[in-house]
């Protein structure tokens, strides 16, 4: 039990995919200009990660080594297409705002990385918990990024005004450059806190 619990929570902080492993940078930076986009991306990634972890951990024994990556990537791409089509059908606005970044989940290193490093070596339950934990870690990071960027860049949070009309939006924050800055400073904070904890 405790081992499974460990697999589950390690992605939240200790092995946070975004701030510790520095994986899946493209969506982390590209879609965090608003909280709504971030939530859409978190949903899609969680679905793909869980779905493909399940399948990969089931089929891991029958796939020959030479085509291992190709097969895994086909499995992942299938789930990504499903997520993409679903968004296009039921949330067209969101689908448009996320643009090519939903299809690009295929090559999100978090996903392939987890399949390679974990799901291809572990059983179904452990893989599912690992996937879920990683998704939560990814979600935490994206929520942080997008909250900072949306509040500073547009003065709103999830479309609701949080800063009064006196606030002149700091527009650089929703531009590409702002994404790099926010990530850089969050990374700094994350590491500094982590260090303080490990020492204490």
């Amino acid at each position: 039990m405790s081992r499974l619990w460990k697999e589950f929570i390690k992605g939240w902080w200790k092995e946070n995919p975004v701030f510790v492993m520095v994986l899946g940078m493209c969506p982390t930076l590209a879609v965090t200009n608003s909280v709504q986009n971030a939530i859409g991306m978190i949903g899609a990634v969680t679905f793909v990660l869980i779905g493909s972890s399940l399948i990969v951990s089931l089929i891991r024994k029958i796939v020959p080594n030479q085509v291992r990556i190709a097969t895994f990537i086909v499995v992942i791409a299938t789930f990504v297409t499903m997520a993409d089509r679903y968004l296009a059908a039921y949330y067209p606005e969101l689908s448009k705002a996320l643009g090519p970044y939903v299809p690009l989940i295929v090559v999100n290193c978090i996903i392939l990385g987890r399949q390679e490093a974990f799901a291809s070596k572990n059983g179904v339950i452990a893989s599912l918990l690992d996937a879920l934990g990683m998704s939560i870690g990814f979600g935490i990071a994206l929520m942080f990024m997008s909250s900072v960027r949306e509040i500073l860049g547009s003065g709103t949070w999830l479309g609701m005004k949080v800063l009064g009309s006196w606030y002149i939006p700091w527009q650089v924050m929703i531009l590409p450059a702002g994404a790099f800055f926010v990530y850089g400073f969050l990374y700094w904070g994350f590491r500094a806190i982590d260090k303080a904890f490990t020492k204490g």
């Binding site: 030479q66 190709a70 086909v74 297409t81 296009a88 059908a89 067209p92 860049g153 939006p169 929703i174």
Partner: protein, 191 residues
Amino acid sequence: MKESLRMIIVLTFFAALSGGVLGWFNSFTEKRVEMNKLKELQNSLKAVTEMDPKTDAYENIVKEKDFEIYKIISGTQVKAYAIVGEGNGYQDKIRLIFGVKPDFSEIIALKVLEEKETPGLGAKIESPDYLAQWKGKGANSKLELVKTPPKTKYEVQAISGATISSTTVVNIVNKSLERARRIIKEKEEGK
């Protein structure tokens, strides 16, 4: 040999399986996607030509990558034309749709379909304030960009700090209007 065969079979099997699953999945979502597209077009047409989707019909006359014309028909009469055009803005392509009266006397309204201009500057081409001035601009002659409040209906005021985006919008309208006028004229004479 046996190994390569196994490799081929496994990969093919999963690829085909994926094709099957997606084909099956797509049959559920396809209709919704089509419907969304249709709705979006209808909404745009409604916004720029005051089309009433219940009573009016529309017909696609020209459809190219960067240029489209729709004819809005109310009963037997042509009510308006909606024109889609695009051009290079400050950051990336700007794509917009605007409606004109059937005699090309005035622009009814203008709407931006796609833009990636700088937020706070160029992106103001999507602001209601800016779009409102397009209502009633002349459509039978070239429009001009000015920096002061417009004096005639052939003048369009630029957004301060976003000259390139403003220029692009005016250029797209001028270019597409000219083409549309020519095409519609040919069609009418052809009749």
